[in-house]
């Protein structure tokens, strides 16, 4: 009999704040964490808005760079919620699988600056440790006394969801009973300038699926999930937050930054997730869309939903939370999976903030104006990334 995969703990840090309760309250109020960027001077940048996780360094027990602190704080919350701990006498065997696009880029940038300016020769090499993403996973193993493998996945903006999918494979294969999985990325002028150079950043509002959408607004954060084998969790007597019943992934094999306009790859990933979950499109109560707010992505995602769900694509309530938390790149898939879990447990779907004008290329049942209170048993959550990476996850109420 195939093993079942459940989530027993989550840790979430975004521009909305830290923790499940704060996030839930902000989602219910339709609050946005997007504001003027404070972490670097934007006077020479084309745009000046971002969703920074301000104040994460307060109440912090960990050392290290911003990426490590984000990850470790989110892990601490997830372990506490799952009532999991590890000790020398009774060590917990759990791989740490994290997705990120650029890892410890802030340390990397400092290293690059010192190298380019040829200074701090001895000190600068120490910065490389935090730059390499595997350090964040290794820190989790060390700080929480786990025995296991540090695994870092890079699937661009689908990295976080990739990590959750990989965790589900590990549980189903029987190689692990517990996996620490999630995604993270920090805000930096590196990515802000890069996305601006690609003309993908909205100057004012991020409004996914709206006819007047003009791009995304970057954010930062970390989302960590404790993923367990069902029987292992039941024996521990811990509360089960949701079950991961389906995961699908594919590649467009099309372009390094643009999504394939035929949406066949993305539709394939969604179909795979639905098939693995053994559900029909009519079973899906809510879609947490990737919804970046760019012209090409939102049109492609709409087409993918129509290809994979048929006529139901236009009926199922859908929203993107990126106008609230920004596009957090490698963290987004994990953060949106956690927000989907909030939707399941608290019976509401967040609104698609800033949505006003329907677009004939995005014929979907978009939740606008206010969050929708409704019973939610099954959620489909999508993530797509540069290079044509497509991932889809089905989460169900347990």
């Amino acid at each position: 009999m195939e093993k079942r995969v459940v989530v027993t703990g989550v840790g979430i840090i975004t521009a909305l704040g830290r923790g499940l309760a704060i996030t839930k309250a902000a989602l219910e109020k339709g609050k946005s964490g997007i504001a003027n960027i404070e972490s670097f001077d934007t006077s020479l940048h084309k745009t000046s808005l971002g969703a920074e996780a301000k104040g994460i360094l307060s109440n912090n027990n960990f050392n290290g760079d911003r990426a490590s602190i984000l990850v470790l704080q989110a892990c601490k919350d997830a372990f506490e919620m799952a009532s999991l701990s590890s000790s020398e006498d009774c060590p917990l065997h759990a791989p740490v699988i994290l997705g990120t696009t650029l890892g410890g880029m802030l340390s990397g940038q400092q290293y690059h600056r010192d190298l380019i300016l040829n200074k701090n020769r001895l000190k600068r090499t120490a910065l490389l440790k935090d730059y390499f993403s595997c350090n964040q996973a290794r820190r989790v193993l060390e700080e929480f006394g786990l025995i296991g493998e540090p695994l870092i996945l890079h699937n661009a903006c689908a990295s976080g969801l990739s990590a959750i999918g990989c965790a589900s494979y590990r549980i189903k294969s029987g190689t692990s009973n517990v996996v620490v999985a999630g995604g993270y990325d920090v805000f930096s002028d590196f990515t802000h300038a890069g996305f601006n150079s690609l003309q993908l950043i909205a100057p004012k509002l991020c409004r996914p699926f709206d006819r007047n959408r003009s791009g995304l607004i970057l954010g930062e954060g970390a989302g960590i999930l404790i993923v367990e084998e069902l029987n292992f969790a039941m024996e521990r007597g811990v509360k089960i937050l949701a079950e991961i019943t389906g995961y699908g992934q594919s590649s467009d094999a099309y372009h390094i930054t643009k999504p394939d306009p035929t949406a066949k790859g993305a539709a394939g990933a969604i179909k795979m997730a639905i098939n693995k979950a053994e559900i029909n499109p009519t079973d899906i109560d809510y879609i947490n869309a990737h919804g970046t707010g760019t012209i090409l992505n939102d049109a492609m995602e709409t087409k993918a939903l129509h290809l994979s769900l048929g006529v139901h694509a236009a009926k199922i309530p859908l929203s993107s939370v990126k106008p609230m938390i920004g596009h957090t790149l490698g963290a987004s898939g994990a953060l949106e999976a956690i927000i989907s879990i909030i939707s399941i447990n608290d019976s509401f779907a967040p609104e698609n903030l800033n949505y006003k004008t329907p677009d004939s290329n995005c014929k979907l049942n978009i939740i606008s104006g206010k969050p929708r209170n409704m019973k939610i048993k099954t959620v489909l959550s999508n993530s797509f990334g540069f290079g044509g990476s497509n991932c889809a996850l089905v989460l169900e109420k347990f």
Partner: protein
């Protein structure tokens, strides 16, 4: 349960030795400049015209592996059941620095969008997928033993019927920045700067698929495992001494160990462990053959093991002792570097180690 058995059915590689199996076997004796290689000799490189050097290397090595596995003429339906899992330690570090240089020197309004998109770590695997029209999962793994981790991931994807076949590879190329970064922590930096790196790929698939397609396999992969070997992790010693090898499927008595280790604390511990658990202490240090080229040398190490188990001729250019031994049944391939130690056990096709 035929899907339980995973085999290597194709190999491909590129580096300063040249490209392909014949050149690979002369690894120690022939040294070329990578600029001597004409990438167009191996494939139509037009899909790569905006790609970086890493993506060129990875795509050509992947193409050669697909050809070797007789998988290079598949239709679109089949391509959805093939994936790419690519390991790298540094990925596009050089491009990140070039991009950052533009950012610092010229300001954020002047940065190149192409440099930015090539600085994203999954760029090489995406180019492999796009250039070779591979539509299954395309994943990049970074770390200190990323190719072993890629192998494990690919095995999961095949065993759980997500894919039929998967290209598993490694890519890293030498640059001065890597030397700058490691000059304080690698004692013998000649291992770094005397080699270019490059890329190696293997095609892994279920034995069922390999037999159905009627192609020759190189080796069966019994399993692969990775551990964190941080000096702060007090359990590291226990991991090496008490962990059952690979889900108890194999005894530790393998014929040879193809190891790669440096002389830091974890490396010494790992070396000791290997020597204690190998028949006649047959340990070959692959770092001396392939140098320290991170995921590139890691992929070459795995390819070397697969060729040795198949009984390939002309391996004397890599290691004389392995080349003399034509009756290898089993190998452990291992790597210990910095925070990670990984190993994989492979056996000759159709052979199983004693429980």
């Amino acid at each position: 349960m035929m899907r339980d058995k995973i085999v290597i059915s194709g190999i491909g590689m590129i580096g300063d030795f040249g490209a392909g199996k014949k050149d690979f076997c002369t690894f120690l004796s022939v040294r070329k400049s990578i600029s001597d290689l004409c990438f167009d000799d191996y494939m139509d490189t037009s899909p790569l015209r905006r790609a970086d050097e890493l993506s060129y290397c990875a795509t050509i090595a992947a193409k050669l592996a697909l050809q070797d596995a007789k998988l290079d003429h598949l239709n679109a339906v089949c391509n959805k059941r093939i994936g790419v899992v690519l390991g790298t330690t540094h990925g596009s570090l050089a491009y990140s620095i070039d991009y950052n240089k533009e950012l610092i020197m010229n300001g954020p309004a002047m940065v190149s969008p192409m440099l930015f998109s090539n600085s994203v770590l999954n760029a090489p695997s995406s180019y492999v997928s796009a250039a070779l029209n591979i539509q299954g999962a395309s994943i990049t793994i970074s770390g200190y033993t990323p190719v072993f981790q890629a192998l494990k991931y690919a095995m999961d994807l095949i065993r759980q019927d997500i894919l039929d076949c998967c290209l598993v590879g490694g890519v890293d190329v030498y640059n001065e920045i890597i030397l700058d970064g490691y000059s304080n922590c690698i004692k013998d930096t000649s291992m770094l700067k005397n080699r270019y790196g490059g890329s190696g790929f293997v095609v892994v698939e279920s034995a069922e698929s390999q037999k159905k397609r009627g192609v020759v396999g190189y080796a069966e992969i019994q399993g692969t495992q990775t551990f964190c070997v941080s000096s702060q992790n007090k359990k590291s010693d226990n991991i090496f001494n008490s962990q059952h090898l690979l889900d108890s499927r194999c005894s530790p008595g393998v014929d040879y160990v193809l190891a790669s280790y440096n002389q830091d604390g974890a490396g010494v511990k790992f070396e000791k462990y290997l020597l204690e658990n190998t028949k006649e202490n047959n340990v070959v240090n692959c770092t001396k053959i392939f140098g320290h080229t991170f995921a590139a040398s890691e992929s070459f190490q795995i390819i070397f093991g697969a060729m040795a188990l198949q009984g390939s001729n002309d391996l004397s250019g890599l290691d004389a002792s392995i080349a003399r031994n034509k009756n290898l049944d089993s190998l452990m391939i291992s790597k210990s570097f910095k925070a990670s130690a990984s190993y994989s056990i492979m056996t000759k096709m159709e052979r199983r180690l004693e429980k």
